[in-house]
Point group: C2
Chain length 372, copies 2
């Protein structure tokens, strides 16, 4: 008999893999896990294209998508004229960024671009509509309780809704709102994260929601032994992200892959410098610049900080790829503390296989730890 | 056959319990675990008395002691006249503390006391001499590689030397220096701690030291399921601290116990406000006052900050016990994120029993997670 979570999602091994790369999503799903496409930055057309590609490659096996529809953000509920939100980015912030670029031998743009406010507003609805036109089996949301329309649409289409949480209080609220799966994600996770560590958060969340829905452990999990640790504590499986960034299939730029392989677990930082909300990423002179405790600049609220930062980060990343030293010092990437255990580029399928083997070895190790 | 770590230390269950309270140490040892007396703040005479009491109560069962002999500190290697170190605390720091107390309706002392610089210097040697006159089985050190005299004396007396580490690089150095046991302690731990979480640190340390010595997992572990998680990841056992603070035997003040029981995992903070080095404790208006990223004051280096802070913290604690509201807002206590899972006062023996039962249940849960 398969574990309940495997029955529910039609998988062999309860390893959920978040990736922006369709190849990784399909490969994990085809290897018996569950691939989840991170689609927040996608346009509806692009999402449709990616999901069609996945459909062609997984032969009906299950996969899902992940969106970020935050519960709270600047401009929420207001009727905004085009450009009005961007107008709320103070001029001195533009100046600060221009100075930071100059200090790194990067010419500031004459009229700096503003990134899309994709973290807010109705884009989520359009993406959802596209997603539901494909045979997805899960839709996940980060940053607060999913909007009612997401939970309702999930019900209607028979698609489970998952929520990422960083505190037990949030898990309780999510269950009350009707989500079907909780991802308890510790502070060691890449991207947006809370303060509580995975080892403490998993038992706290499980105790708090009293078995109402299944719980996946997340945050720092890049090996089967860590997944086994999560399951030993009562989780039904693991949600992973960072580990797929150094797979052969990932679209991670080569210079970024090299940074990941070289990084230790102490090379990441929880910074508000990219989106305005704390998110774990590689330490760099960009994150230093937005570290108030080291004399850095205060950041703007969501989504203003990302509207300001994302176009710059993208440009910096392109220059870094060309070997520009200033850009390489500034470049930063979302990744968790598990990066310290990611030391080799491997095919996705092999990562899944190693997860399973390592999980089995950990299970045996724990069983053998008992006196005969 | 017992696990190797149990054979090495003559115990039934590889649960190591750090406590400043001799009753807890003896009770854990008597219940089949390994009690470790935190003796850093003790005088040699006091330590002798406490260890004699333990000897009378454990009937030859094994226990150990823990000291903090930091590798680096202000004044190290200098010949200092009496009071010279205290003279390095700048006057404006005294003024800042006086203002902080006044703001909380606490009259500053006319001539503020300076705490002992117990974290530095030769006190460690005197304590060691006393310790080795008792049948201790382990001596543990935090904050850097133990001094040669500690490792040599351990060898000579056949007493194993353990070191607490918060980063894999430190573990490698400790093994090179000759320690017999590594405690890999994650950022969720109470007291001094690094940045890497337990779930990431344990596999990193184990990989880095390649089996040279046994490894205990530590940081946030207050239940048997978390201990099982550590062992599933390859640790030989667990090192714990916070969980013993709410036992019946602990000398924790009643108002502090109430704060611990009410606290969630998000009520702790890693702050330099007490010793000058990052240490996890309950958030309070004291830790706020020393949080530079919230406009707080920069802290002094070790041991100056503790010489400044400890007498104040003690006075605040006494006032808080009497119900003084300002003091209650300032009072802080070293404790880990696991405090969120500590919800009831229990006898030490029962905590050990629950650890074992929970560990067994977690082992069974992990075994049952495999498909038949």
């Amino acid at each position: 008999m398969k574990p309940a979570i495997c029955e529910q999602f039609g998988i062999d091994f309860p390893l959920f893999a978040f990736s922006h790369c369709r190849d990784v999503v399909a490969a994990v799903t085809n290897a018996g896990g569950f691939g989840v496409l991170g689609a927040t930055a996608f346009t509806p057309q692009w999402l449709d294209q990616e999901l069609s590609w996945i459909d062609e490659h997984v032969g009906g096996k299950p996969y899902g998508i992940d969106l970020i529809v935050p519960a709270k953000f600047e401009g929420k509920g207001e009727k905004l004229a085009p450009g009005e939100l961007a107008g709320r980015i103070p001029d001195d912030y533009r100046g600060f960024v221009a100075d930071l670029l100059s200090a790194h031998d990067i010419e500031p743009e004459a009229s700096p671009r503003t990134g899309p406010s994709f973290l807010s507003g109705d884009t989520g609805k359009d993406l959802l509509e596209v997603a539901f036109s494909h045979p997805i089996k899960l839709i996940a949301n980060a940053l607060g309780v999913p909007p009612d329309y997401m939970i309702d649409a999930g019900r209607e289409h028979g698609v489970r809704v998952a929520a990422l949480v960083g505190a037990k209080e949030h898990a309780v609220k999510q269950v009350q709102a009707g989500v079907d799966l909780i991802v308890a994600q510790g502070t060691e996770a890449g991207g947006h994260c809370g303060e509580v560590t995975t080892l403490v958060l998993i038992p706290e969340v499980i105790e708090a929601i009293e078995g109402a829905v299944p719980v996946l452990g997340a945050g720092g999990i890049v090996t089967g032994r860590q997944m086994a640790a999560a399951v030993a504590m009562g989780a039904d499986g693991a949600w992973t992200g960072s580990v797929w960034l150094t797979t052969e299939e990932a679209e991670t730029a080569p210079h970024t892959v090299q940074k990941f392989l070289a990084a230790t677990s102490r090379d990441t930082i929880r910074s508000t410098g990219r989106t305005g909300k704390p998110a774990r990423q590689l330490k760099s002179e960009w994150t230093d610049a937005w570290a108030p405790n080291e004399g850095g600049h205060k950041t703007l609220p969501l989504p203003l900080q990302s509207m300001l930062a994302e176009p710059v980060i993208r440009r910096v990343d392109q220059l870094a790829a060309q070997g520009h030293p200033g850009a390489q010092a500034l470049a930063t990437y979302f990744v968790g503390q598990g990066v310290g255990l990611m030391n080799k580029v491997k095919p996705t399928r092999e990562v899944v296989r190693e997860f399973i083997e390592d999980y089995l070895a950990a299970t045996e190790r724990l069983s053998n730890s008992l006196p005969d």
